[in-house]
Symmetry: C2
Subunit: 339 residues, 2 copies
Amino acid sequence: MNASMTSGSAPTLEMVAARAGVSRATVSRVVNGSPKVSPDVASAVHEAIAALNYVPNRAARSLASRRTHAIALVVPESTARVFNDPFFATLVQGVGLALADTEYTLSMLLESEAHIDKTRRYLLGGNVDGTLVVSHHTGDHSYANLSRSLPVVFGGRPLDSTERVNHTVDVDNTRGATQAAEHLVERGRRRIATIAGPLDMPPGVDRLRGFADALERAGLSPAGVEHGDFSPASGAVAMRRLLERDPAIDAVFAANDQMAIGAYSAIADAGRSVPHDIAVVGFDDDRYAATAMPPLTTVHQPSVEMGAEMARTLVRLIEGEEVPEVTLLPTSLVVREST
Amino acid sequence: MNASMTSGSAPTLEMVAARAGVSRATVSRVVNGSPKVSPDVASAVHEAIAALNYVPNRAARSLASRRTHAIALVVPESTARVFNDPFFATLVQGVGLALADTEYTLSMLLESEAHIDKTRRYLLGGNVDGTLVVSHHTGDHSYANLSRSLPVVFGGRPLDSTERVNHTVDVDNTRGATQAAEHLVERGRRRIATIAGPLDMPPGVDRLRGFADALERAGLSPAGVEHGDFSPASGAVAMRRLLERDPAIDAVFAANDQMAIGAYSAIADAGRSVPHDIAVVGFDDDRYAATAMPPLTTVHQPSVEMGAEMARTLVRLIEGEEVPEVTLLPTSLVVREST
DNA sequence: TTGAAAGCGCTAACAT
DNA sequence: ATGTTAGCGCTTTCAA
C-alpha cells in the first residue's frame, strides 16, 4: 500500500525503535505486553509498528527466548493409515481452532516407520515447546517417556492406563457405554447383548465395563458378549454368533458404529428387523451412523472439543500452570431410529 | 545413555567443533553437506555429532540463513467445516508423507474468520518458506496474490481458472468424467444423463465438459443435464427432474458420489432399479461409494498422491527449481456394481 | 580446504 | 520506566 511496504526486506524491531524514538528493549517490552511501559510510550510504539507493518521474526525470538511457540501433533503411522477416520480428522480441527486463539503454531508430524527417530529428534531437538500425541494403540510405549523431557499431552484413544503417562485427554468411554445400556433398558429391552471391542484397547475395555455395570444396576446380565476388532465385518460375525447362542436377543450395544453397521447386515440375514426385533446402539457417532438404514442411535464423541481440550491443556502445561492429569470429556447419546 | 546426554542443555555446534578439533564453520559445512570438506575431517565431525547426539537448532539456523524449512498448509474456514471430508483428510496425509522425506516441516493453519489476517501475517512474516492452500471455492481471492511474495501451491479443488494463480495441482476432472461417460457407453447405455455440479466451481465445469465431450465423440448427446450442489439431497432432486423429462433414461453420471447416492433414492422412488434399469456412475470414490447399495462405480481421485504432489511441487519451487504451473493428476475408474 | 569474524533479529539481565 | 549490553546458535563472507 504505502512506500514502506515496497522496501525489500521486512521491518525489524530496530526500525520500529528508531521510528518511535525509543530503544529496542522498549519495543520488545511493548510487543510482549510487559506492564512496565508508560502508556504514551506504548502507544507511540504501537503506531510505529502499525506504520511499518512490523511482524516479529520468530526465529530470532525463539533463539533469544529459548521458546518456539510451536507445538507438535504426532500422528503415529498406525493412526495415519486410518487418517480418514472422521474422529481423528475432527480432532485435528479442534486442535487447530483452539490454537488459533493463541500465539502457538501447529506442526503436524505424520510419522512413517522409516523416520521414527527423526520425529524424536525433532521433538527433543528443541523445535517445539510441547507435543500432542494421538494413539490408537496400547502397546505404543515410544512416546510414554517423552514426557520426561517435554510437555506432552496424550489423547484420542489413550494408552493403557497401567502406564503412568502424565497428561491425557479422553472421552468418557465408560459413561458413554452406560448411557447406551440405560437407554436400551428404558426402551423396555431385556435380553441385551454387546459386541465389544478388543480387550487390548482401552476403549474396548471401558465400553464393555460401562455396559456391564449399567446392566447390573438394572438387575440384568448381558444376553451375550462377543468381541470384534471395530471393523464392520467383525461386527457382522459377532452378531451372528450372538444370535446363534440366543436367538431371543432383543437389543445389542456395539462398541463402535462400524461394528453396529456390520451387525445390521447379520440381523437382516437372520430375517430380523431393526429396531422392531432387535434394537441397536453404536458408539462414535461417525459419518455412517446418521445415514445408515435405519439411522443409528449412538453415543456421540465430542471430537472437536477433544482436540481443543488437548491443545489447551498442553498450552497450560507449557506455560507452567497446574493441569489435571486426566481430563474426561462427556459423551452424549444421540437417539435415532435404531432403538 | 551416556554421560553427555545427561547434561542439561542440548549440544551445540560449538561443542561438536571442539570435540572434532575443527572450527564451527567446518562443522556447519559438514552438517549442510558442503562438498568442500576433506573426507577425514568430515568423518571426524560426523563422529563427534553422533557421540554428542547433536541436533542443529532450527531457530538459530533460520535466523542466520533466513530460511525456515517450514511450509504452511492453509485450510480456509469453509474447508475446515468439511474437515471430515475424506478427500481433504487424505490429502493432508499425502502432504505429511511427502514431507517426511525432506527437511521440511508442516505447519497447519486452520483459518478461522476471526483470525484471517493473523494467517496472512504469519505467512508474510517469514515464518515459512512457502505455503500450500486448499480451497473449495472459486471466489476465494484472498490467497491469489500471496504468490507474489511467497512460493504458493494451490490444490485440491483449485480456484477459477480465470485467475492467474501461479502453481496448482489438481485432479484431471475432465478426463475423469470422460472415463465415466465412456464406460457407460461401453456398457451399451444410450440415453445417458448427468447430474452436474455448480457451474461456479471448477470441478463442476470440468466434469460436465468431460462428460459432454465423451458423449459427443460417441455420437450421442446428453439425455438430460441437471445441476446439483454436490449434496445428496440435490442429487435426488436432480434425478427426479431428469426422470420427469425423460423416463427412458438408462444411465446417469453424477458429478460426485454424494449426488449419486441421492440419485439412488430418487431412482428407487420411481420404481426403477440400479443398475438394471439405470446405470449410475459417481465421482470421488468417497467413503460412501464402496458401501452404497449397490456399490457405486465411480471415478477415483488420487488424494494422497495429490497432497504429496503439492508438497513436492512447493519444495521444488522453494529450492528454485522449474516446475510446471499446473499438474494434473490422473483419475481412474473403479467399476463396482452400479453399472 | 579451513578458520576468523561478523552478524541474523530478538530477549533478558543489569544499569540507570 | 527506559536504555545498555550481551548473547541465543548458527551461517556466511572473507582471508589464509
